[in-house]
């Protein structure tokens, strides 16, 4: 066999492998959509890989009305977005003070904020339940957003300080020589330079907050405050059974907007992730 043919074969194999990879990631999602149109009996009477025999829209009606997916989706979105705004504001300002500004407690504070990276959610849960009950934050959106924000500060500060350290001091000095106030400096010079770092923080924290289950199931039991994650777990009737068709309908409902949002933002996301902030 000539080396040309060998190379052709290798290329073909690579293509096959890549197609297989794409299938491994895509097929379950396709299957989920077909499952969302199945009648309850189809889950029992037909093999899992069978396509939906018809379009049973009742699942979507159930998900939307009985499952309250409309409410849960909006809640997840509001909670995530509000905490992302706070996370970015806090972590950028703190990181800037910790790296570029001059003050006595700087070293201690850097260590103090760094410490939080190692704090697991479970450890803080019991006292948080007590704190929230005593301050009336239990079952409020404020409580949830605050705890989302607080638990993200350490990690975000860690990412952004890494990026800021690599930023030459000269840029900031030049700004000061030009007569910028500290706040102008922050907004006009530092912020634009940190675009990629901020996108990275946004993506990573979006991933964490969007997927949160433990905080929301502990601190937000009101149906008007429930997030998608808890909502999906709650598709159970009194005796703990599951309504699969409606579950997959809800999942599909929750996935579609994410899909479009992700496809639209995908370039910025991947750019931010690959831009270097994560490299510490």
């Amino acid at each position: 066999m000539s080396s040309k043919n060998t190379r052709k074969l290798a290329e073909a194999l690579k293509t096959v492998l890549i197609v297989v990879i794409v299938l491994v990631f895509l097929y379950p999602l396709f299957w989920m959509v077909t499952a969302s149109f199945k009648q309850p009996t189809e889950f029992v009477s037909k093999p899992a890989y069978a396509l939906n025999s018809g379009f049973y829209f009742q699942n979507y009606v159930d998900a939307w009305t009985r499952g309250h997916m409309s409410v849960y989706f909006v809640n997840s979105l509001i909670n995530t977005l509000l905490s992302l705004v706070l996370i970015v504001i806090f972590s950028v300002t703190i990181s800037f003070a910790l790296t570029k500004m001059q003050w006595k407690l700087k070293g201690f504070m850097a260590a103090y904020f760094g410490f939080g990276i190692m704090v697991p959610v479970a450890t803080t849960l019991i006292p948080l339940a007590q704190i929230f009950q005593k301050t009336g934050l239990y079952n409020t959106r404020t409580g949830l957003v605050l705890v989302y924000t607080a638990s993200a500060i350490s990690f975000s500060v860690y990412l952004i300080t890494g990026y800021l350290r690599a930023l030459p001091d000269e840029i900031i000095e030049a700004g000061i020589v030009d007569g910028c106030s500290i706040y102008r400096l922050m907004i006009d010079i530092v912020l634009p330079l940190m675009k990629n770092a901020i996108i990275t923080v946004l993506v990573i924290q979006f991933f964490f907050k969007w997927n949160d289950l433990i905080y929301s199931m502990t601190f937000a039991s009101k149906s008007s405050l429930k997030t998608m994650q808890t909502g999906l777990l709650y598709f159970e009737n009194e005796f703990g059974s599951k309504n699969w068709g409606a579950i997959f309908a809800s999942v599909s409902i929750s996935v579609m907007p994410m899909l479009f949002m992700y496809l639209a933002l995908n370039k910025a996301v991947i750019e931010g992730m690959t831009a270097g902030a994560v490299k510490g």
Binding site: V44, F90, I117, V119, I214, Q229, W244, Y262, T274, A275
Partner: protein, 295 residues
């Protein structure tokens, strides 16, 4: 100029709001947990009483705790190794093999990252299904003549944890591959081409050129993955509920049961502290491999 950077008011404005929030909702709870761990009973109810070191003594005799510890550690090892290894592999495939539709392939592989964990778990529950009908996995095995491999994947202790780990790896491959791919892009093509001209094969290229350059990002990935897997809760709760038996019950789940279902606030706090210690010690050990950081 130092005047500007020493502006105390500005420092306070930058640091204090975040500091208060962080102290109240992250640091204080740990101290509080430590305090609670010396108590017995349910906080706020009549049986709440000081118990000294009793909870700590109980820990090492508690079969359920030791079981959860072992489950949790095995999970961390499997999932961290899997996420970073497959993330790396996928990043290398992106860089060297994917010629056309690169952005599309990366988008598809990244997509599971944005799916809610519970949704993914519901999906995998159906994939692993055996009764009343084979799920996707068992159908596939039966279809290619591997009937003897057909089994209740999440219904047996021996396979449940592995099945759970596979799901969590699948979800996160996209996340790690994109981070590592970013680092790969920063390595100049000249270095790679020079090595190829020198006759390096793929493995040598990876071991001698890429691996040393990728080390910092790999350590970062391991830390991400470690801190994510130590707290093991969401995916296990949604896929297996900790079962069968206690085969997939993590420390966080056991702590949750103890504190919120059994209403033993004190003992729950003790377990919570152990989870914290594991995190601290584990992160320190992983950091040890990051030369630059240690400097």
């Amino acid at each position: 100029m130092n005047q500007v950077l020493r502006d105390k008011k500005a420092i306070a404005a930058f640091v204090v709001p975040g500091l208060i929030l962080y102290t109240l909702l992250v640091i204080l709870p740990i101290v509080w947990s430590g305090y609670y761990s010396f108590f017995d009973g349910t906080a706020g109810m009549k049986n709440w009483a000081f118990a000294g070191l009793k909870n700590y003594g109980k820990l090492f005799k508690d079969k359920n705790f030791l079981n959860s510890l072992s489950v949790n550690m095995r999970y961390v090892l499997m999932v961290t190794a899997g996420q970073v290894f497959f993330g790396l592999l996928m990043a290398l495939i992106f860089k060297f093999w994917v010629k056309k539709f690169g952005a599309l392939v990366r988008t598809i592989v990244f997509f599971p990252v944005v799916l809610p964990t519970v949704a993914v778990a519901q999906l995998f529950a159906k994939i692993y299904e055996i009764q009343p009908h084979y799920g996707l996995l068992n159908s596939l095995l039966a279809g290619v003549g591997l009937e003897s491999w057909v089994q209740p994947w999440i219904g047996k202790s021996s396979t449940a944890l592995g099945a759970l780990a596979a799901m969590d790896i699948w979800v996160a491959i996209g996340f790690y591959s994109v981070i590592i791919y970013g680092a790969l892009l920063d390595i100049s093509n000249e270095i790679i081409e020079a090595a190829q001209i020198d006759g390096c094969n793929g493995l040598q290229l990876f071991l001698h050129i890429l691996a040393p350059l990728l080390r910092p990002i790999l350590v970062t990935c391991v830390i991400f993955s470690f801190t994510g897997t130590v707290k093991m809760f969401e995916s296990a709760l949604a896929l297996t509920g900790g079962g069968p038996g206690t085969a997939t019950r993590s420390l966080s789940m056991y702590m949750y049961d103890t504190a919120f279902t059994y209403m033993k606030t004190g003992y729950g706090s003790t377990i919570a502290l152990v989870i914290f210690l594991i995190c601290v010690v584990g992160s320190r050990i992983i950091r040890f491999f990051d030369w630059d950081y240690r400097k």
